[in-house]
């Protein structure tokens, strides 16, 4: 430890700390612009100059290492003169257009100019003007305001992993820009808006829609990916105007993905439902809640009476709240049906009833960030888990080795130790190779049935390298990504990962797909005993369905199957915040609140229960889902539906006031017989769920839909695959999968595993196709 004195206060800091670190420790504020705790030190703004005893000139606090016995003065005449001098320089070419600047009111330059700026400028020359840049649909620019702190540049290089912004030219002509004719397309790009200390980079969707001081700040939780990023939702006149990160070092740090940040636009969209609607005589009619709910209750009763309660099924979105899921399963079970599920994109339910556990990350996110060896199986890492990928990027920078088994070689923007790019059907064999290699290298025995099958299995150099990497680690983690969880043999993959982890003494888990993937298990929103799961409910069509927050034609593993089952049902009740294709197949549409208009909770992939309150009042006749389900329970005369508040529902869902979720989190799957599939010569589909199509909210966020991540699906394959199919990668092709077909553009993409065609799911142009993986045929039109 080093000891120093700052403004007369003694402080002790560890070796290697800077004066800024020491000042932060004792709460002494040193003005700064370029310094940011999560970014590298640039020391270019010079605002943090302080007086250091025995130094001939003021030194930047952010870059000056602490020496023992150092005496620092942050408010001395020398320090303040230097700080004021820098402030004057920063302001001479700044347009001082605060009244029309979106940053006004939350601008570091504006704030610090109060303390360090002059009341009039000595600069009488012409000011610099910088041409604005088009950085895409999310980031607005006013580059004349830029003070060249390079936080945005460093963010790209260090956090997002891709340098999309840089400083061109030099001296006074320096300017921040993207590469020629390029925009900023990172899935984390919006963070530069927060980082920009002035109004040079502001939010394009939010632009000119409110002044920051008019907004109330309310805490919430992101309803999208499995991380559950903490949000500050900013509200004016009962409308969500903007979303910012709520700093939580254990979850999202100070970052948000663009999906978390800009999806709010959907909440104010024209596509919101406003009133309950009934379809009568083929015509949709707006009705009051009483009528709608009575219709639903009577309908369910009638179906149960005529076809049995088991003919009713419920499909819940994994983005629903814990409370909604709990009440929905309680409602189904009250009616006498076990058919309830939230695992809409899952295909393999072989573990149901065996494991009885709750797949989760297997460790806290904080531990995830500290792993030194990581293997991820089947994940579009950057797009499926933008901030978890960012954590891996940081740990890889510190020397951790990350390896991937996946169907595409998309660049995760982090240095990979090794990767195996194989068709999904070969995931299991790839894992088996690694298991075999680990067992050989460590001279350990493993599962005998599996051992017999690996006898003749050749081990590739990559598999051996991954095995060696994992063996050499002290903190090893193995994870199943979304594609692995959606895999037709997901249970076997889980068993293989479990076996591999056992050999290594490693931890394993899943990268949770949705905001409440863990919550669904905790709420019991999955079938027990003879109930039907999300897949079998569609394969064996039910007479009546309750659909909560989901768009089955986009959100289910097999959209074609889902559309057929729902269309043929006698009654479909759609509870949704948005107008959906439910108008084609549903009989009742109930407008329920999105996450901003209801209280509730999500359990993120590390098992963290994160409750939130409504930040605005429900739109028009919209009602919180948990209240709707409670009233439905009452109308059906079911017991145990007299909850007074969502907190009471949560307590019940968690199993009591003091119940711990942690006890239920278990990724292990018990003994599963693994049969390594023989490879087929068929062309195989690989489906990603593009980041901005993943759930009903984000699909309707207009700005996100204009990003490059939201381009329409194509049929992507490598040159070899194209060649075998007689294609050149620039033509329209007809894709056939089972009974479904779709016409898409073929595109050359060398990152796709040989023999595979990457066709995105969750988009209407591909919703006529079937499962996310499996054999397809491709033909030239």
């Amino acid at each position: 430890m080093l000891e120093l004195e700052i403004d007369g206060k003694q402080v002790q800091v560890p070796e290697g700390s800077t004066v800024m670190d020491a000042a932060n420790k004792i709460g002494t504020f040193i003005p700064h612009f370029c310094y940011h705790k999560k970014l590298s030190i640039a020391a270019n703004c010079r605002m943090c100059l302080v007086e250091v005893e025995k130094a001939p000139k003021p030194l930047p606090a952010c870059a000056t290492p602490v020496a023992n016995g150092m005496k620092v003065k942050t408010r001395s005449e020398q320090a303040v003169t230097a700080q004021k001098g820098v402030m004057e320089f920063l302001l001479i070419n700044h347009p001082l257009d605060c009244p029309i600047c979106d940053q006004g009111g939350e601008c570091q330059l504006q704030d610090l100019s109060i303390g360090y700026g002059g009341s009039a400028s000595r600069y009488q020359e012409e000011k610099r003007v910088v041409v604005n840049k088009n950085l895409g649909p999310l980031i607005a620019t006013d580059m004349t305001r830029c003070i060249h702190c390079t936080r945005c540049v460093r963010f790209g290089q260090e956090i997002a992993g891709i340098m999309e912004l840089g400083v061109a030219n030099r001296g006074e002509h320096s300017e921040i820009l993207a590469f020629v004719d390029r925009t900023v397309d990172s899935e984390l790009s919006g963070n530069v808006i927060d980082l920009c200390p002035v109004g040079a980079l502001t939010s394009k969707p939010f632009r000119f829609s409110a002044r920051t001081w008019e907004l109330s700040r309310r805490k919430s939780v992101s309803p999208h990916d499995g991380l559950g990023a903490n949000l500050v939702v900013q509200v004016k006149l009962n409308e969500v105007k903007r979303v910012l990160p709520l700093e939580n070092e254990d979850v999202n740090e100070c970052w948000l993905s663009d999906k978390d940040r800009f999806s709010y636009e959907a909440l104010n969209s024209e596509q919101r439902l406003r009133r309950p609607m009934l379809k009568q005589g083929g015509q949709w009619k707006e009705v009051d809640w009483q009528t709608a709910l009575e219709y639903v209750a009577n309908g369910f009763k009638a179906v149960a009476a005529s076809h049995g309660a088991a003919s009713i099924g419920a499909l819940l979105s994994p983005h629903s709240t814990l409370e909604e899921m709990y009440l929905a399963q309680k409602l189904m079970r009250g009616l006498g049906s076990e058919n309830v599920d939230f695992r809409l994109r899952q295909r393999d339910f072989s573990l149901d009833g065996k494991a009885g556990a709750t797949p989760w990350l297997g460790m806290p996110v904080a531990d995830f960030a500290r792993l030194d060896r990581v293997l991820v199986v089947g994940s579009f890492l950057r797009k499926d888990h933008p901030l978890l990928a960012q954590r891996l990027r940081q740990s890889a920078k510190k020397g951790s080795q990350v390896s991937l088994i996946h169907a595409t070689a998309d660049d995760p923007l982090l240095p990979l130790h090794a990767s195996m790019t194989v068709a999904p059907a070969a995931f299991a064999a790839s894992l088996a190779q690694i298991i075999k290699s680990v067992a050989e290298q460590k001279a350990l025995a493993f599962d005998n049935a599996l051992y017999q099958q690996t006898q003749t299995l050749p081990v590739s150099a990559e598999a051996r390298s991954i095995a060696a990497s994992l063996i050499s680690g002290a903190r090893v983690g193995i994870f199943l990504g979304n594609l692995a969880q959606q895999h037709p043999a997901a249970g076997q993959l889980a068993a293989l990962v479990q076996e591999l982890a056992r050999l290594l003494g490693a931890r394993f888990g899943v990268l949770g797909e949705a905001a409440n993937s863990v919550g669904g298990y905790v709420a019991g929103a999955l079938p027990q005993g003879g109930g039907l799961n999300a897949r079998s409910m569609l394969e064996q069509p039910r007479k009546a369905y309750l659909v909560l927050h989901a768009e089955p034609e986009l959100d289910c593993a097999n959209p074609l199957l889902a559309a057929q089952a729902l269309s043929s049902a006698e009654m479909v009740v759609a509870m949704s915040a948005f107008q959906t294709r439910a108008s084609d197949y549903a009989d009742v549409i109930l407008p329920v609140a999105p996450f901003t208009e209801t209280s509730g909770s999500f359990i993120n992939t590390e098992g963290r229960v994160q409750g939130f309150n409504a930040v605005v009042k429900p739109l028009d006749q919209t009602r919180p889902g948990w209240k709707v389900l409670r009233v439905l329970g009452n109308l059906l005369g079911l017991a145990g539906f007299d909850f007074e508040s969502s907190e009471a529902v949560r307590v019940a869902a968690l199993g009591g006031e003091r119940a711990s979720v942690a006890d239920r989190l278990r990724s292990d799957v018990g003994a599963v017989a693994v049969i390594l599939a023989t490879t087929s010569s068929a062309v195989e589909r690989v489906a990603d769920v593009p980041i901005h199509f993943a759930d009903p909210i984000v699909r309707r966020a207009p700005s996100l839909q204009r990003t490059r991540d939201a381009c329409a699906p194509t049929a992507r394959m490598n040159t070899a695959t194209l060649g075998r199919l007689g294609l050149n990668g620039r033509e329209k092709v007809r894709i056939r999968q089972g009974q479904g077909e779709a016409v898409l553009e073929s595109v050359v993409d060398e990152a796709v595993a040989d023999g595979c065609v990457r066709i995105a799911a969750a988009h209407e142009t591909t919703s006529a196709l079937g499962d996310m993986t499996g054999p397809i045929t491709v033909e030239r039109i």
Binding site: M47, P60, R122, E126, E172
Partner: protein
Amino acid sequence: MLKIDQPMHIKPQILANLEGEKSWRLKDYVARGGYAALRKILREKTPPEKIIAELKESALRGRGGAGFPTGLKWSFMPKQYAGEKYLVCNSDEGEPGTFKDRDILRYNPHMVIEGMAIAAYAMGTARGYNYIHGEVWDVYLRFEEALDEARAGGFLGQKILGSDFSFELFAHHGYGAYICGEETGLLESIEGKKGQPRYKPPFPASFGLYGKPTTINNTETFAAVPWIIMNGGAKYLEVGKPNNGGTKIFSVSGHVNRPGVYEIPMGTPFARLLEMCGGMRGGRKLKACIPGGSSMPVLPGDVMMQCDMDYDSIAKAGSMLGSGAVIIMDETTCMVKALQRLSYFYFEESCGQCTPCREGTGWLYRVVHRIEHGEGRPEDLDLLTSVSDNIAGRTICALGDAAALPVKSFVKHFRPEFEYHIENKKCLVPVDVQRAGSRIYVEHAAC
């Protein structure tokens, strides 16, 4: 062939015996005793510490401008470092008025190579770069040729001269940015990045090229090394004066009869140097002199005439010896116009990384420009001083100081001239007088 105007009693060390037809060739260099120092240390297996001690004794100070003791700098290199260490020669000579390294490399490149090889031996580095200013292309090409010759001659590469010592040296040319002459900007440039200085600490000795321990010296510094090895540090010191060992090469430009490169012992009186340059052009009076390159404070003529040419004497007079670029201005010079030129240079060459320099250099230039163009205001002179104060000492590298010092010193020493400009909206020095002192106008009028 180099014509050197050196009175016989002053013995140059670096620019010695260059009268041969092709003095830059290996053959010529070896013939005049070149590579003897390298041979000597390799043959005698001189311990590296002894070489560094010799350099410390010689009081050789960095010839790039800062005058840091070279032996001390070499001793900062971590000895037991496992991994690559680098040696870098800074030949990115870009400051107005400096052209000494250009001539060293043009006429005596092997002396630099030998000096670097000795330095590499002393510091245990196996790889070096010479970063050469991009606007002297012929010099870069010639250095590449010299490297080829040295490699072929066994003076560079693996197992030099049959010893166990290996050293690979490469030339790297810049693209004409002044800022790449700043040592850490230079390192960034070699790494292929934008030439922007790094914040120090960490210093290059611990975190230099590619993050490895690195020593950077000026061309002339390396060129001085073989002589010291051959003749001993004590003898080198004796040539100069205490704390200012050896000879120094001055590039003299401006209003003298024979501008050029002069190698003289440290401590030689300025008047003597002026005399060697053939005196003031047209016999006019010395008005001002910048003794160390355009980034150093200007000194009035009478002060300058009392100075000796060494680090300490010039510093005592209120300026710095810098790189030894002596800019001579006679009484036909308009100091406002001269400052306008200088401040434009720093405005143009600022890298833009840190605030005071990026914003301040443009401000300074614009105000001086205004004064020169008859739009000055009475408060401008105080403003110039104040803005200069706000730049100097507040920036990442020394370019901020380099921009501020000339402005402050011009205003300080020639304030009446600036005031005259502001009040009368014209020069104190009449235009025809200015033209009489300018070769461009005089020669133009003649034809």
